[in-house]
Structures are given as C-alpha cells and as structure tokens.
C-alpha cells in the first residue's frame, strides 16, 4: 500500500464512510403518541405501496410476457428480448449473453425501455396527502371473549385500516426497437400499437393505462458500421405513486380501532388567564321562550383585581360548556342507493338560549365523528333530524350503529 501520510491517529486519512444514519439514532427527542402505537406484526394486513419499480416492472413485463413480440428471421421465429436500458456492465456481458455473440457484440432484434420523464397528472389530483380512505373490518380478535348481549353500553370494536390516497402521475417511457430489417421492425411496432390505449401490467399486481401518440422510424447506414433499423416511440403511462412511509415514520396503512364505549366529558384550557382568587360561579335560572335555562352571572366569574370583567371569549366558553349535552339517536332510513342516512333524536331540539354559534351539532356514528361537510340537521316539532351523506363521509351506519349527538341540546 502506498504511503498515505502520517499513520498516527487522527491524522490518518480514513476511508470515507458512505453510511448516513437516520434520525432514529440521533439525540433528538421524537414525539410519541402512544395511541398510535398499534401492533402490526400480528395482523394479516400488509403495508401497501406503489413505487416506481412496480410501474417500471409492469410496463417491461407486459412488453416481454403479454405482447411477446417476435420476428421471422430466415424463416425462423425469434422472440424479441426486452430489457431496461443501460444495465450494469457485468450484467450485460455475464447475464445477458443471449443477445450477444460469444465475443460480446449485440445482436438484433432487441427492445430497450427507458423511463424518461414524470409529471403530475393534473386531471386526477389528490387534495392533500392527509386524506385517507378507511376500510373497516367488522371482526376483531379483541371481541372474541366478550358477551355483548350482557354488557350494557358497549359496542364490539372494529378494526379500521386507513390507506393514504396516492399521487397520480404521468410517466413517459422511451422505447427503442432494433431490428436488422424494416419488415421485422414493422411486425413489432404493429403488435405494440395494437396493445396500447389499454391497461398494461400483471393482473395479479398493478395495471396502468398506457398511450402512444407517434412513432419514429430510422434506417441508419454509417461507414464502418452495420446497417440498423431503429423504431423509437414515447409511451405515456397514467400511474399513481404511494410510498410505504411518509413524513419520516408514518405508515401508509394506518390501523385504528373504534371505541367500545364512548364517555363524554367537557374540559377547557385557556392560556394567559389571570390568577383567579375567590372565584365564584353563581348559577341562576331564567325563563327564555318558555324554557327554564341556567344563566351565568358574567360579573361573578372573575372576582380579583386583575380579571377582565368583559372577557367575552372566556365567558362564552364557560357558558357554552354549561349547556353541552349528549343524546342517543336512532337510524330512521338508510338509503344505500343514494348513499344517505337519516337519524332522529326524539324530544330533542337546540337550546334556544344563546347565539347561533352554540347551535352546533356534532354527530358520532360508531365512534367516528361525521365531517360537517356531509352533515345537515334541522328541528321539526320536538325532534332533531340529522341527515348524513354517507358516500365519502368515512362512516358506515347500520341499524345496530351507536348514534350519538353532541352539542347544545335540551
């Protein structure tokens, strides 16, 4: 070994360390939510991903195995081998011997595939990567020792597997077909052209729609080189990408459980509140629109020298909390055709006291909160009717579902 400078540490010139360690071995504290620490090595649902390798494999394997182009050379049918362009040197010589002679010269015919560009598919955009598609497994091993017929207020827990929505992309492939004769190139291009505008890939795995707009044909005769017939075209694959992890640790398929029992309690936290000494809440009642409702004496909430007697927000928070109640509802109609469900809360209406902001209903179906975009509600007579657009809402109401309304109800 040649001299590399002084050998006394640390002057020695070490070999570079090509290993970059991740954040998990650093001293940085990683926030951990124990509710998300759900064991995944015992369930049968694998993590899911669609990668560029999957898409490239689908295209190359479809060309090689399904289209299976062949030519006639001197009366003999010869399969056209398909390879991804520019493989490693040793693989070209020592593994792909069948497309070369014994001295290493490439023989015709051959097809080479290369991924050239990738762009976002603006026609199929996902709003954001936090959107997830939940699928519910109604049986869970957690229920196998429970007798729900004798348990009051408990529901069987369900397993929810939420899959993040993929990014839709358009991937362009440059494909080159080499043949000795134009006639041989024609037969290959004819087969490929007939197969496009269709889904390419392995039926057991992924299939992606492909499209080819135009083909280029060249016959090259250069001095000191063989005559070569080259047909090239660019093919678009409408694909989608879904990494197996994102944001450092989140799995694309996230598992969760529906709650067995729902217990509501109301808590408020506020910052920068003055120190309250000798605070006293004076409960009063008054009659408003024929109903007896409690009223909080605003001036009695903060009774110290630093309190703000007109602190509207803090007063309203406490006021709102005093009226929060929950009601159990029932399913009236479930229309699977239009994807809608109607729920009724008997003898329930909004508390007439207060501003409109307090007339807010949160609907919980089997532990899943219904997004406000899918929920409309109104009062009729002495009943509160809630209408849910089920399709796309992420909830799955059934006749046995636990329906809970949460809000300023009486």
């Amino acid at each position: 070994m040649a001299w590399r400078g002084p050998t006394v540490q640390p002057s020695i010139n070490p070999a570079p360390n090509p290993v970059q360690y991740g954040m998990d071995v650093s001293g940085r504290r990683i926030e951990n939510n124990r509710a998300e620490n759900i064991r995944r090595d015992t369930d049968k649902v694998d993590n899911f991903s669609v990668t560029l390798v999957d898409i490239d494999t689908a295209i190359v394997k479809h060309l090689d195995n399904v289209i299976n182009a062949s030519i006639i050379a001197a009366g003999v049918q010869v399969k056209v081998p398909v390879n991804y362009a520019s493989p490693e040197r040793w693989k070209s010589i020592q593994s792909d011997g069948f497309i070369r002679d014994k001295n290493g010269k490439v023989q015709c015919p051959a097809i080479a595939v290369r991924r050239s560009t990738m762009s976002r598919n603006d026609n199929l955009t996902t709003l954001n990567r936090y959107l997830q598609y939940p699928t519910v497994k109604h049986f869970s091993p957690k229920n196998q020792y429970d007798r729900f017929s004798t348990m009051n207020g408990f529901q069987p827990t369900k397993e929810i597997y939420s899959v993040a929505l993929p990014d839709h992309v358009i991937i362009n492939y440059d494909i080159i077909v080499w043949t000795d004769l134009v006639e041989q190139g024609n037969s290959v291009i004819e087969k490929i052209n007939f197969a496009t505008e269709d889904y390419w890939g392995d039926p057991e795995r992924f299939k992606f729609r492909t499209s080819i707009s135009d083909y280029n044909f060249q016959v090259e005769i250069n001095s000191e080189q063989d005559r070569m017939v080259k047909s090239t075209f660019s093919m678009m694959a409408y694909a989608y990408l879904l990494p197996d992890h994102y944001e450092n640790y989140k799995s694309v398929v996230q598992k969760s459980f529906t709650p067995r029992k729902i217990v509501f309690s109301a808590e408020t936290t506020t910052d920068n509140l003055p120190v309250v000494q000798n605070a006293k809440v004076v409960a009063k009642t008054t009659e408003l629109n024929g109903n007896v409702v409690p009223v909080i004496d605003e001036s009695s909430i903060y009774k110290d020298q630093t309190a703000q007697p007109n602190d509207w927000i803090n007063t309203k928070v406490l006021e709102y909390q005093s009226f929060i109640t929950t009601k159990t509802g029932s399913l009236v109609t479930l229309n699977n055709g239009s994807g809608s469900a109607i729920f009724s809360f008997a003898s329930t209406s909004f508390n007439p006291y207060g501003s409109p902001i307090e007339q807010d209903l949160r609907l919980i179906i089997d532990g899943l909160v219904v997004n406000r975009l899918y929920l409309t509600y109104y009062t009729t007579g002495s009943s509160l009717i809630a209408n849910v657009v089920v399709t796309g809402s992420g909830v799955f109401p059934t006749t046995s579902s636990l329906i809970v309304g949460y809000g300023n109800l009486i």
């Binding site: 360390n17 390798v53 493989p87 040197r89 290493g104």
Partner: protein
C-alpha cells in the same frame, strides 16, 4: 497434432511463456487480485442492476501476476467538488490464465495498489505470427471505481 504455422512452434511458445512467466512472477512481481461476480448469488432487479437488498456477490479473489500500464490520476471538478479518476491497462499471460482456469470479462473487479478497478474492455489480439491459436496475452482496460458500488469492503 502440433500447432500450425512455420514460426512460433510449440517449443518457441513454451520458451516465451517460460521466460515471461519467470519475469512477471519472480522479478517484476506485480500481483493483482481479480474478483468475478457470482451471477448465481447476485440478484437482479428490473433495471439490470444488482439488487440493493443483497448487493453484489463475488467469487473468491484470484491473485495473478500482471504488467500494469498506469496513467496518472486525474482530478475532475463538478457540482460535488473534486473527484479522482484513473484508467489502467492490466496485461496477463493467456497461458497463466488458462492454468488458473480464469477468463477475465467486462465487469470483473481488479484490486491493485489499494484501489479497485472495474474492467471495461477485454483485448485478446496478440496473435504470435498472426495465428489465432497462438495468442499470447489478454489485456484488460479498467477504470478506478467507487467503493460504494462494490460490496467488497465492509462499510464502517
């Protein structure tokens, strides 16, 4: 049946090989270690690359005496800063390679002077008397390669 051709008879070839074998093996003593990829253990992906999960696997290295043509190391500057590059020409006696049952191919790795070189080209054209059966040497053009692509040296 002897080799054809009036010149370079079998006795002449034996003499040339004997002299050159002694010169290269006992006097010059430039020894390189050749690694050939084991294509049975090395898994491939769709791109014609060795799988990232397994890396490349090699057959045990073979030490061979050689003559080395070695141009100077060059330094190239690009977006990553300075980087070194070098090409070498390794010359082997075909008779010795036959005895070792080793034929160099493109993609083989040569270890010499504390560096690894990947073979780019194999030349087998030193035909004594122009007779194809009387080739004397096998030349390998090779370039200085990265450690990260080899899977020979353990990463620290």
């Amino acid at each position: 049946m002897g080799l054809k051709g009036r010149y370079f008879s079998q006795r002449d070839l034996n003499l040339v090989n004997s002299l050159n074998g002694e010169l290269m093996g006992n006097i010059i003593e430039n020894i390189v270690t050749m690694f050939k990829i084991s294509s049975r253990e090395t898994q491939l992906n769709i791109y014609g690359e060795s799988s990232a999960a397994t890396g490349r696997w090699y057959q045990p290295g073979i030490q061979i005496s050689t003559l080395v043509e070695r141009p100077e190391m060059a330094t190239e500057y690009d977006d990553f800063g300075p980087s070194r590059s070098q090409t070498h020409l390794f010359k082997f006696r075909e008779k010795m390679l036959q005895q070792l049952n080793y034929y160099p191919e493109i993609g083989d790795i040569v270890f010499w002077n504390d560096r690894y070189y990947e073979v780019d080209n194999v030349i087998q054209e030193q035909l004594l008397g122009g007779i194809t059966e009387k080739n004397h040497s096998i030349l390998c053009n090779a370039h200085y390669t990265k450690l990260t692509s080899l899977n020979i040296v353990q990463r620290n």
